[in-house]
């Protein structure tokens, strides 16, 4: 045994450490360097799910029923798989509308109904009381086991234990009050508390793993040894099997427990508090959604070994299996380990009580007491001062009340039940919130009356089939109610309602309550019309991901005054806080002073949301309504406002699209403009080139004719020579003008074409024949290489082709050395078309100039050694070839001659027709 003073001292020391952690957490939060802004801390705070029930009760349950302790943790595993979908939506809704409790969530969703909020709060309080009792029982029993000398029987439930439990309850209340209600926050966030809870989660995990390792490796020789001994024992072996020997495996109960835990892990007030309200960043959910199940797995790893180990060591029925974690180390003389394990259990229990009591006290204050107070005329008119102190006081009293209720339940029913059974009663109560909550998040047609009816019927059935029997079994009610049914009617037997048999009491209760709850919620919702406010809230909740802050519809119309709203806020939040909130709001609107804020629907909504954080949605609604002149909204108004909001959204979207397309058009215009500019420059270049080309022959014609005009006595020979030059230059001029015209015509599409089926061999032959005289004169060689086989005709204009050939051949003649020049013409035929190549042995064209030769007035080479020519021949030739769907290109290397080729395709009829049409245009 350990002396009680040591146990109490250790407990207080531990609590002091918790305070230090919480103080540190709050301090860092105030400095803006939150220590809880991490997915790991978030996941650890979720582990507040593991209470004294897990810590002590799981082992007890495993010792009685084997693996049946597990569904309570498999449910959360399954639920967390969907956390990223469901919980994230819940967090988004709660953050957007400043929702701080489940009661607020449900009431807000169904038209800010105060009645719903009160009902939910009531269910929570009644439902959670057994759970609080469980924690008290665990701590006081653990304390009793630690301080009772070995071998002596545990003191029976007498005055001593009863009193110590009361002290524990009072101490926990004081502790929670100091933790959770030191100041009022509109978001109800408690960073210090979350830090402490995360710390507690580490302590309880380490302590439980420590005792597990002690049992497996200290008491036994490892896992193998433990299970070998257990399997050898005929009474223990069934615990390790699914069938548990003769008994049929109760699949419905297994499923029911899993479902129950799945719902509880989200809808228990403390889980909602740490998962939704205390969430710092919804992205933390990503990691937490798998770290939390991992935590559950670790803390459950040694449950079965400890249970089996305890049974093997003590023998069945000799020690309370709920407290094997304490009695096993004690029996082996490991008192310090037992003390550490007790502190771990204390962690589990205090963590649960703190968070649960804070969450429930917020609900009691905001949704039960405040609406009542505010409605009383006297209070409403007199309480004009600051109400923040009052709010905190109500919460403190609520915390104390909840713990005292827990103590009362412990005195009434506590000793008759194992820990787990007590906990399951609470689980089944909060499961009643699931239809209204989940339905509210995903089903727009779910309405207030449906939710109200469902909750009422579900809660009534829970009370009748689960809570009352628990009291009967504790001997506080007549057992006849159980065995005979209410008023002696057999079909009203609470554990076999309407004669439903074959289910254990929990599955039975869960089935009836949830079935009736869901049924009523759905049917009533489908057969009643929602009010305007319900319909609007339904839209806001279900579509929360589809709206952004700027396009939130505000379902309010009427007249308000800024001063009234300011006074109202000051009453509940204090003057400093109000000033800060309004300044923030003004800044967001781009205003300098808070007094310039327009008193419109947005402001009313803002004030109401802020107030909702402090006093609950229903009360906030009522208070705001009392200071502004409201116009009643009907369904048409809701639809209209929604329409406007969606129009606004569509409008902003359209605006965005417009500006995008404008941007695109601008850039297109810019590109077009640049193209135009370069075209303009090209035209200028073209013009200057043309005029330059025209000026040269004109100048020489003028010079020679002037000379002849001035000199009457010029000799006939000289005159003749001059006239020949003039005629030559005039011819060149004419050629140039013709070519420019030709070029312009082709480019503008006005050229005349006379297409027919052309024998390309004969055209090339003609061209070679007609120019061969000139080649011969200059001592150049010209050879045509064409195959012997005849080539199928090609659709083209023979005169134009002739023009191309002559151009290529005369060009080649200019660039080959004189004499010794050699030009070869090749014709190659292919199914798709004919290629004609003109190869010379000139000095070739550099790579970078190759494409330029096809540009107008561009000739390769230096200006000085340019041969005679207009610089339009190649561009025109290329245009002609391209007109027939072909292409012209150049292959050349400096010093290795040049090879100009063009390819003419054999077109199909459609393509020919296209060309013909183009020609005729």
């Amino acid at each position: 045994m350990i002396s009680s003073s040591i146990v109490i001292a250790a407990s207080f020391l531990y609590v002091l450490i918790l305070f230090a952690v919480a103080w540190f957490g709050d301090k860092r939060a105030a400095e803006g360097r939150s220590i809880i802004a991490s997915p790991w801390v978030y996941a650890l705070s979720m582990a507040v799910y593991c209470t004294a029930w897990t810590y002590f009760g799981s082992v007890g349950r495993a010792a009685n029923t084997g693996m049946w302790f597990l569904p309570i943790y498999l449910g959360p595993m399954l639920a967390m798989i969907l956390a990223w979908i469901v919980l994230r939506k819940m967090i988004r809704i709660a953050k957007t509308y400043r929702i701080t409790s489940i009661a607020d969530f449900i009431s807000s969703r169904y038209g800010k109904s105060r009645m719903l909020a009160s009902l939910v709060t009531l269910i929570t309080v009644v439902g959670i009381v057994p759970y609080i009792a469980l924690q008290l029982k665990a701590i006081s029993s653990g304390y009793a086991i630690l301080t009772t000398p070995l071998g002596e029987p545990r003191p029976e439930m007498g005055l001593r234990l009863g009193d110590s439990t009361l002290y524990i309850a009072l101490a926990l209340a004081g502790f929670t009050i100091m933790f959770g209600t030191r100041h009022l926050d509109t978001t109800e966030r408690h960073e210090g508390m979350v830090a402490a809870i995360a710390f507690e989660s580490i302590v309880k995990l380490v302590a439980f793993l420590a005792v597990g390792i002690f049992v497996v490796y200290g008491v036994f020789n490892g896992v193998g040894d433990l299970f070998t001994q257990a399997l050898a024992d005929e009474t223990l072996k069934p615990l390790l099997m699914l069938g548990q020997g003769t008994k049929e495996f109760a699949y419905p109960q297994w499923f029911a427990l899993t479902l129950l835990a799945m719902l509880s892990v989200i809808f228990l007030p403390r889980q909602f508090q740490v998962m939704v309200v205390e969430n710092v960043d919804e992205r933390h959910l990503k990691r937490a959604s798998w770290v939390f199940p991992l935590y559950l797995l670790l803390i459950n790893l040694f449950v079965l070994p400890i249970a089996i180990g305890g049974l093997l060591f003590f023998g069945q029925g000799q020690a309370d299996p709920d407290y094997f974690v304490l009695s096993l180390p004690l029996a082996h003389g490991y008192e310090w380990l037992a003390l550490f394990v007790f502190v771990g259990g204390l962690s589990a229990a205090t963590g649960m009580v703190i968070v649960e009591a804070i969450a429930v006290s917020t609900m009691v204050c905001n949704d039960l007491v405040m609406p009542f107070l505010l409605r009383t005329e006297r209070f409403g008119s007199r309480a004009s001062g600051d109400l923040t102190g009052l709010l905190l006081m109500i919460r403190r009293i609520a915390i104390l009340g909840i713990l005292l209720l827990g103590y009362l339940y412990f005195r009434v029913a506590g000793e008759a039940y194992a820990l787990v059974s007590i906990g399951l009663i609470s689980f089944a109560a909060v499961a009643q919130f699931a239809p209204a909550m989940l339905g509210g998040m995903y089903w727009k047609a779910g309405n207030r009356q449906g939710a109200l009816t469902g909750l009422l019927i579900g809660f009534a059935l829970w009370t009748y089939t689960l809570l009352l029997p628990s009291l009967v079994k504790s001997g506080w009610l007549d057992t006849g109610f159980m065995t005979e049914g209410l008023f002696g009617l057999a079909w009203l037997k609470p554990e076999q309602l309407f004669g439903l048999q074959g289910l254990d009491n929990l599955t039975h209760a869960l089935f009836w309550s949830l079935f009736a709850n869901i049924g009523a919620y759905v049917l009533v919702s489908l057969w009643t019309r929602p009010e305007a406010r319900e319909a609007s809230q339904a839209l806001l909740f279900v579509d929360v991901f589809e709206r952004t802050a700027s396009t939130h519809p505000v379902f309010w119309q009427g007249r308000a005054k800024l001063s009234d709203l300011r006074n109202l806020t000051e009453r509940f939040l204090g003057a400093d806080k109000t000033e800060r909130l309004l300044t923030d709001y003004a800044r967001r609107l781009g205003l300098i002073q808070a007094k310039d804020i327009p008193a419109n629907a947005q402001l009313v909504q803002y004030v109401e949301t802020q107030l909702a954080g402090a006093i609950g949605t229903g009360s906030a609604r009522m208070m705001v309504a009392s200071v502004v002149e409201e116009e009643q909204l009907d369904l048409d108004d809701v639809m209209r406002i929604l329409e406007e909001a969606s129009q606004l959204r569509a409008y902003s979207k359209a605006l965005e699209e417009k500006s995008l397309s404008l941007e695109k058009a601008t850039s297109e215009l810019r590109t077009a403009n640049e193209q135009l500019k370069s075209l303009d420059k090209l035209k200028d270049d073209f013009m200057s080139s043309v005029t330059h080309e025209l000026r040269t022959p004109l100048t020489s014609i003028r010079a020679f004719t002037e000379m002849m005009l001035d000199d009457d006595e010029m000799e006939a020979d000289q005159r003749r020579q001059f006239l020949e030059i003039v005629v030559g230059e005039a011819e060149r001029l004419g050629r140039l003008v013709n070519q420019v015209l030709d070029m312009a015509k082709i480019e503008a599409g006005h050229a005349e074409w006379h297409s027919s089926d052309v024998d390309i061999q004969s055209v090339v032959q003609q061209a070679v024949n007609s120019i061969s005289g000139m080649y011969l004169e200059n001592g150049l060689s010209l050879t045509l290489h064409s195959g012997t086989a005849s080539i199928a005709p090609i659709r083209a204009d023979p005169d134009r082709l002739m023009q191309v050939m002559l151009n290529l051949l005369s060009n080649a003649a200019k660039f080959v050395p004189h004499p010794g020049g050699k030009v070869d013409v090749y014709i190659t035929d292919a199914p798709e078309g004919v290629t004609v190549a003109v190869q010379d042995n000139g000095k070739g064209i550099a790579q970078h100039e190759q494409e330029q030769v096809f540009e107008k007035f561009r000739q390769a080479g230096e200006f000085s050694d340019r041969p005679q020519g207009t610089g339009l021949g190649l561009p025109i030739s290329r245009q002609i070839v391209e007109h027939f769907g072909g292409r012209m290109w150049l292959e050349s290397e400096l010093g290795a001659g040049a090879r100009f080729s063009f390819f003419l395709p054999r077109l199909n009829e459609a393509q020919q027709l296209e060309i013909t049409e183009e020609e005729n245009r």
Partner: protein
């Protein structure tokens, strides 16, 4: 698109998990055998559980959007 896929995958994992942990698949482990000294039924439950955590962790940590 990927977010939609993540949601669909999560739902699939959830349904698969529900099936694995209920009738009749649970009956598969009702055998007189041990894994590393641990009786089959408890071992199977913890292994399925660990597997689900692993898949969930993989789903949640790989998709960065």
């Amino acid at each position: 698109m990927l977010r939609g896929m993540t949601s669909a995958r999560l739902i699939a994992l959830f349904l698969f998990g529900c099936a694995l942990l209920n009738f009749p698949l649970l009956a598969l482990w009702d055998k007189d055998a041990t894994i590393l000294g641990v009786p089959l039924f408890p071992a199977a439950l913890f292994i399925i559980w660990a597997g689900m955590i692993a898949v969930l962790a993989w789903l949640m940590e790989t998709d960065e959007r």
